[in-house]
Structure formats: C-alpha cells, structure tokens
C-alpha cells in the first residue's frame, strides 16, 4: 500500500475533530494500595486532589498506549490508514528519544508516509498539538491527521515520595482531525497559548533518571490566579463567552483546581470533565482521555462548543474551543 501525500489537497479554511479514542492500562491502583506503599490515606488524597483511582501501565510503552488510542479513533472515523498524512503526539514521559512516538504509531497502524512528530509542552501538550495540526491543515500541509496525547508517568514517578506519587497515572487519548470543506464552519477554534517561563522550575522532570517534582502550592496559586482569565480569552478567541460552552475539559491536575475554575468561569451548567477522579493526572493525555470518554458516554451533543484547556510544566498553557465530534 503506497499513498502519495506529497500533494495535499491545498489550504483549508479550518479543521475539525471527527472521532476520538482512548486507552488505559488494565491495572487499577487505589488510594488504599498507595497507603500501603507510602505514608498517606484515602481521605488525604481525596481531600487534596479528588483522586480515587488511577491506571498504571504494566509492560505497555507510551507508543503502545498511543497506538491503541489512535487505532480506536481511526476505526471510529471511517477513514483508513492510507488517508492519514500527519501524526502528532503530545508526551513528556516517553523515555526513548529516537525514533519518536509518532513514527512508532505510524508503523504499528500501517500508516505509510505521514509527517510525524512529537511535541512536549508537558500537561498542555495536547492543546499545543491540536493547534499545530489545525495550522498545518489550514496551511495545506496536511489533510487528515491523528492527534494523540499519551503518557506513562509511572516511569517518571518517585514511588517513595508521598507528595507526588499519589497524583499521577498512565493512559492515552486520540482524535482524528480533518480539513473542513469550503462551505463548512471550522470545528477547531483559534488557540490561546503561551507560557510563564519565570516559573519554569516549579514543575520538573529533570536529569538522567528523572522524577516529576513540583511546588504544589506555587502551581496551585498560579492556576487560581491566572487560569480563569486565560480560559476566558480562549473562549473570546472563538467569539464566545464561557456561558456559551456546553462542556469544559480542563487538564485534569486537581479537582480543587477544576471546580473553582469552572465556578469562576461561570460554566456550572456545562458538563465539566472530572476524569481525574478515576484516572489521576495523566499530563498531556488527560484532556483527550476525558473528552473521548465523554463522547463515548454521549454526554456532549455533536457540534456543541467545548473548551479544551491545558496547563502545566513550563509553565505552559494552551486552550481552544472545539466542536464536539
């Protein structure tokens, strides 16, 4: 099977998500399990972050999980492997530097000659990846893409550190994104992205045997103060206000960030993603994982406006309003 992607169909007026898929490892790690490993408790974890369970990979790699999620999204999209000309993977926990995860996904799914790249902006990676793919399609550099968020944070977790090991999980989520027709409204809105580099040392995965470390209070304070305004701007970029949103899918870092953020934005009537309760913080995978589950459960009507908003290490942030597939 050879597909010639050297001549994309030309610039498009925008792109849209047509299907989603997700994958989580089978192993469930409960708060009580963690209480047997470090000095913590179910009550402490629920009170501080709202997490009840998380999934931990066994032998699966980041590429395995990315492939599983992408394969499901591709199957649901009605497109075939030969139609895909771009793969973008958001991850900050892949231990292999080369080949990248995107080409491994392509090889496993039999996608023959896609442009394929990984992107690392930590927990905001998915929204950055979605934006770059939307831009590529608008520019005419691609027509049908798969955008994946995949993380194996258990590889970079210090399992003796009770302040961090209770937070993270593994998993992947993916979307198939295609160009819209000339008479069709774009389904991916303009991105609002940026960073606060003066705070780049408050979340780190550094060195040769890296572990995630963070200054929880500093991150929390930044999230409380900066995010409501940024999320509002992401809505404004799409010509909307938060009140127009039917669903809100923020990065799943902490229920105590998600709930006040939703309150401050005034989106209490919207469906707000709280997948952190069952999945923990899965960094760049958290938004596509949560969104894919919401789509699967039919919680959001097709075409409804949904704000995706990622934030994390860097400190980076990115958000855009999408139309639910």
């Amino acid at each position: 099977m050879t597909a010639d992607h050297s001549h994309p169909t030309g610039p498009a007026r925008g792109s849209k998500i047509i299907a989603m898929g997700h994958y989580q490892p089978a192993r469930v790690l409960t708060n009580d399990d963690l209480a047997r490993m470090v000095d913590t408790s179910d009550e402490w974890i629920r009170d501080r972050v709202g997490i009840v369970t998380r999934r931990i990979a066994d032998t699966e790699t980041v590429a395995d999980m990315a492939t599983a999620a992408a394969g499901k999204a591709l199957a649901a999209s009605g497109l075939s492997a030969a139609d895909i000309d771009l793969i973008a993977v958001a991850t900050c926990s892949s231990v292999d530097r080369c080949p990248n995860v995107a080409t491994r996904v392509a090889a496993k799914l039999g996608i023959s000659s896609p442009a394929a790249y990984d992107i690392n902006t930590a927990c905001s990676g998915y929204e950055y990846a979605l934006a770059t793919v939307d831009h590529a399609i608008r520019a005419g550099a691609a027509t049908n893409a798969i955008v994946i968020g995949a993380e194996k944070l258990s590889d970079v977790t210090d399992w003796t550190d009770r302040s961090s090991c209770v937070l993270f999980g593994d998993g992947a989520g993916a979307a198939v994104v295609t160009a819209v027709g000339d008479d069709e409204e774009p389904g991916i809105g303009p991105v609002l992205w940026g960073s606060a580099p003066e705070k780049s040392d408050v979340i780190t995965i550094e060195g040769w045997r890296p572990y995630i470390q963070q200054s929880g209070q500093t991150v929390f304070r930044w999230a409380m103060v900066a995010l409501p305004l940024l999320a509002e701007k992401a809505c404004a970029a799409a010509g909307l206000t938060p009140k127009d949103l039917v669903a809100f899918v923020p990065h799943q870092a902490n229920l105590r960030i998600i709930e006040p953020l939703a309150r401050k934005l005034g989106v209490e009537d919207a469906v707000v993603a709280k997948d952190i309760i069952e999945s923990g913080n899965t960094s760049a995978a958290s938004v596509p994982l949560a969104l894919s589950k919401m789509v699967e459960r039919r919680e959001i009507p097709s075409g409804a406006p949904v704000l995706l908003f990622g934030f994390g290490g860097g400190l980076t942030y990115a958000g855009q309003v999408i139309r639910c597939p």
Binding site: Q217, V225, R256
Partner: protein, 81 residues
C-alpha cells in the same frame, strides 16, 4: 491605617468563604493548620483572597511563615503601611 481587629475580621470572612471556618473560631492566636483545619491549598486561596481584599502582595516564600492568624495580621498590616 487598618487596625488589627479590622484585618482579623476581614480574614475571618475569607476563611469562612474559602475553607468553611466558623468566624467565631478565628482569633489571632489560632494556627491556620492545627486549630482552623486550613490545609496547604486552602491557605493559598486565603492568601490570594487576602491580597485582593487588603491590596497587598504576599509572596509564595512568605506564606509558610504565616502560621497563625496573628502572623498574617502582622504581615498584612506591615505590607499595607
């Protein structure tokens, strides 16, 4: 100049709002963590709200020094002077 009592009463409103603390329990000698059950994240919310209410800056490094309501009152009074 805001008096200590005025600051304590302002803090007590904030504590009730962000952490559900009974205003009757708030006094200068009370520890945020041990007496009022304010955890580290709620403390951040208290600080952010206090900055706005009293038009002061309370840097991250300073937050850990604010053990009691009285510590916070002293800091806010000094910062707004």
């Amino acid at each position: 100049m805001t008096t200590r009592d005025e600051i304590t009463s302002g803090l007590s409103e904030i504590l009730e709002e962000v952490a559900g603390v009974n205003p009757d329990d708030v006094a200068e000698d009370k520890s945020f963590t041990d007496d009022l059950d304010v955890d580290s994240l709620s403390m951040v919310e208290v600080v952010v709200a206090a900055e706005e209410k009293f038009s002061v800056k309370i840097p991250d490094d300073e937050v850990q020094n604010l053990k009691t309501v009285g510590d916070a009152v002293t800091y806010i009074q000094k910062a707004s002077a």
